[in-house]
Symmetry: C2
Subunit: 473 residues, 2 copies
């Protein structure tokens, strides 16, 4: 048995346990075995590291072009002005900004939030219906805690936001995906899933949907479908969680009218300042009917007591004193340029059989590989070629999505994007060559999406995306 080298400047300590030496509190033979393994809560079994977190160390290497992260371009903010503003909030109002606040959130910020939501047609919201949260992630977690018991069914688009799937897994919900196409969630598919759930006796607690510039699919729910979804919610007594972090980041349109603007009683709305101002402040919100809002406040008090005061005052002051609408316009121009660089490069460089969505807002393109390729298996080769993406399986609760990947254009500069797409195209070509050596590639069995000249309305998700995955142990 090799002895441990002595620590520099410290006496050599005897190892705490030696074979045959009796000890009152024996150190386990295999110290990596978890002595607490038998006492974790059932919900921990569904917790797993996301595909995105696994990429963190890769993404931070300077030679890698990351099309993986969803980090907004915060350096486009007027940092000096924002810094002065926040500094003055502490110097001049420290008694408030450094002190505890209310669990529901600062009343002045909740008023400003109602102004922001009015841009999407929500004109009947009262500040008393708003709960400020630590990012909209906490909003979704609170809504889930308030509604979901283990085994309950949650409906979500296929693919769906990875952070939402993490919340649903931690709540031991069963996630059932509903297919999308270029016009977003398909109402007929939703209705069919609801009928099947009814036949199964499933307790469907809500539909979780990202109607605008979907993460990761990059598509937007069309206007006619918005009304159709709300009508289905009425007919089937369905609660809808409308998650809308990107709604003000459209490139070509005025903001779409929110689902919440069409139905105040059946839609719980989640908003965020992470994409319109700063994610480092972690300020989001929930707009909910009174009875739900009351439960959300109790749940957030148990979770964090209250959101940080300083960051809430910072957002409220920013909305009061800075040209925030013009700043959003500046952000969208910057993201449009990056979207253009992405789509132009994809059009120019991707091998046949590769397809992708064409977002008109937000951060993401959803790309489908030629038939037979697997984005997860391909990932090490991509990282070796210094380009990163998020494999599609992270966006499904049921293990599907292996032929997909998410490309983010929000953070890298256009030239980096072009270089990243060039590297990615090369990786795919090499993969195709390897693949065709062993197997004939059938490029005719998948349904193409978004490729210029392709008919719209085709399915974004894999054929298996409407299967139920029971994440309940």
């Amino acid at each position: 048995m090799a002895s441990t080298p002595p620590s520099h400047g410290q006496p050599h300590r005897t190892p705490p346990q030696q074979h045959g030496h009796p000890h009152v509190h024996p150190v386990p033979r295999h110290p990596r075995l978890d002595p607490l393994a038998d006492r974790y809560a059932a919900r921990t079994h569904g917790m797993k590291s996301s595909e995105i977190r696994a990429l963190f160390s890769v993404v931070s290497r300077p030679e890698v072009v990351s099309l993986a992260g969803g980090m907004p371009a915060v350096t486009a903010l007027p940092l000096d002005a924002v810094g002065s503003m926040i500094g003055e909030l502490v110097s001049g109002m420290g008694a408030q900004t450094l002190q505890y606040g209310s669990g529901q959130g600062d009343p002045r910020l909740r008023e400003r939030i109602c102004d922001v939501m009015a841009l999407e047609g929500i004109t009947d919201a009262s500040p008393s219906d708003v709960v400020v949260t630590v990012g909209s992630q906490q909003g979704l977690d609170l809504v889930t805690r308030v509604f979901v018991d283990p085994g309950d069914v949650v409906l979500a688009e296929g693919p769906s936001y990875v952070g939402a799937l993490g919340v649903f897994q931690a709540a031991e919900a069963r996630v059932r995906h509903v297919p999308m196409d270029d016009d977003g969630l398909i109402p007929e598919a939703l209705e069919q899933v609801l009928l099947e759930c009814r036949a199964n006796g499933d307790r469907v607690k809500f539909l979780y949907t990202v109607p605008n510039y979907h993460n990761p699919a990059g598509v937007t729910l069309s206007e006619p479908r918005r009304q159709a979804i709300v009508d289905i919610a009425d007919r089937y007594d369905l609660l809808v969680i409308e998650d809308n972090p990107y709604g003000l980041l459209g490139f070509d349109h005025e903001p779409h009218r929110a689902l919440r603007a069409r139905n105040a009683q059946r839609v719980v709305y989640l908003g965020s300042f992470s994409k319109t101002f700063s994610p480092g402040l972690r300020v989001g919100w929930v707009l909910a009917p009174l009875a739900v809002r009351e439960k959300l406040v109790l749940a957030t008090e148990a979770q964090v007591l209250c959101p940080p005061s300083l960051t809430q005052y910072a957002v409220a002051r920013y909305l009061d004193t800075q040209p925030w609408r013009e700043q959003i316009k500046l952000f969208t121009e910057l993201y449009r340029e990056r979207r253009d660089a992405t789509l132009e490069s994809l059009d120019a460089l991707m091998p046949p059989g590769t397809t992708w969505t064409r977002p008109d807002g937000g951060f993401y393109v959803w790309l489908k590989l030629p038939h037979g390729l697997d984005s997860k298996l391909m990932q090490p080769r991509a990282v070796g070629a210094h380009v990163a993406y998020v494999p599609g399986i992270g966006f499904y609760a049921d293990g599907s999505g292996r032929e997909y990947m998410r490309l983010s254009y929000c953070y890298p500069e256009p030239d980096q994007i072009r270089e990243g797409v060039r590297r990615l195209a090369r990786v795919i070509e090499v993969e195709l060559d390897l693949h065709s050596t062993f197997d004939a590639v059938d490029t005719g069995t998948f349904r193409a999406v978004g490729r210029p000249g392709t008919a719209p309305g085709t399915i974004v998700g894999p054929a298996s995306s409407d299967r139920i995955e029971d994440t309940h142990p």
Copy 2:
């Protein structure tokens, strides 16, 4: 049926529903009935508004002396220096401070946190074992989510921190209180409760304890008992959650050695900057063994993605550049003065039969009313007399504690404290007079605590505090 008066400047709208008028989506007859009442999660049944929140509107009235809130004296901070420091963090480092960070928290802050814990004898903590949280409240919520299934038993002092009870109720845990006296949690009582739980087949997931300057009891776990508690944890395979927001706020001593310093594997440590710097930043942490830490990171990613970057950078920079040890000394001198004002006034003014603890650190005095009085029933009269406190029942999961109240001296100035105690003493006297009119007051049946000249070691909690309350529906 009275018609609704028209809104000023708006056309008079027809009420949306009239008797006998068919409607596709009828508005409920009783709009205050919650249409979603049948679909909330089971955990919501245990959620209720805390005694403290109910006091918020009262406390904010300027004529009321509030001995209710636990707000630190943040205006004693050097606000100009802190404001400049935070402003510069945004202006100069906006790309980091306004951006997403890691779920586990900023590595530099985690290093500084290890420096802070070293003051309490925790010298073996690695930054990689620390998880930064949105206040230690989130830390406790995460630990509870990782360990507690519905029906599991959590041990907690009686009385216990109201915010912890809220977490345990939301997790559908059964809370079993363990009695304290002037030397804190009673080891023999803990052992007895553990034996009873073992006999009952209860799954005891952990002991939750606030060893220093207890909230609300104001007492501190003695040195010999610290070792006794850790020994019991070893013998009974018990996990201990050590919640220590006040540990550096002792008036007369060097910091007590943490339970975690005595046992790294059985103690999960919760820390906070809310009382040593600012609660409005909501920065706390958990120090946990590796396997637990990994689960905590997954749980916090599902809950908030990551803690706010700006507030983390603010705390790390504050610890790096400001005289934070001297600031803590300044805080403790200020709180000692207020503690003295409280105890002197209580000694001088309280009617016989009233007893209280004598804290040597922290924020709180725990007061017991003369036999027969009820702090909750007395509360309206106290508010009428312009003094506020928190009734004792908020600090028990089992409905006991009605004869107790928590008095906080952290926020009001000494003169306000004296006036508040004077008003409170008068309210108690009037209550006693009323009471004696109807019933003979027996001042001999309670066990006195802390009254000058009283023997130490008597029970802080009510006799019923070791009953199990099953909060599982």
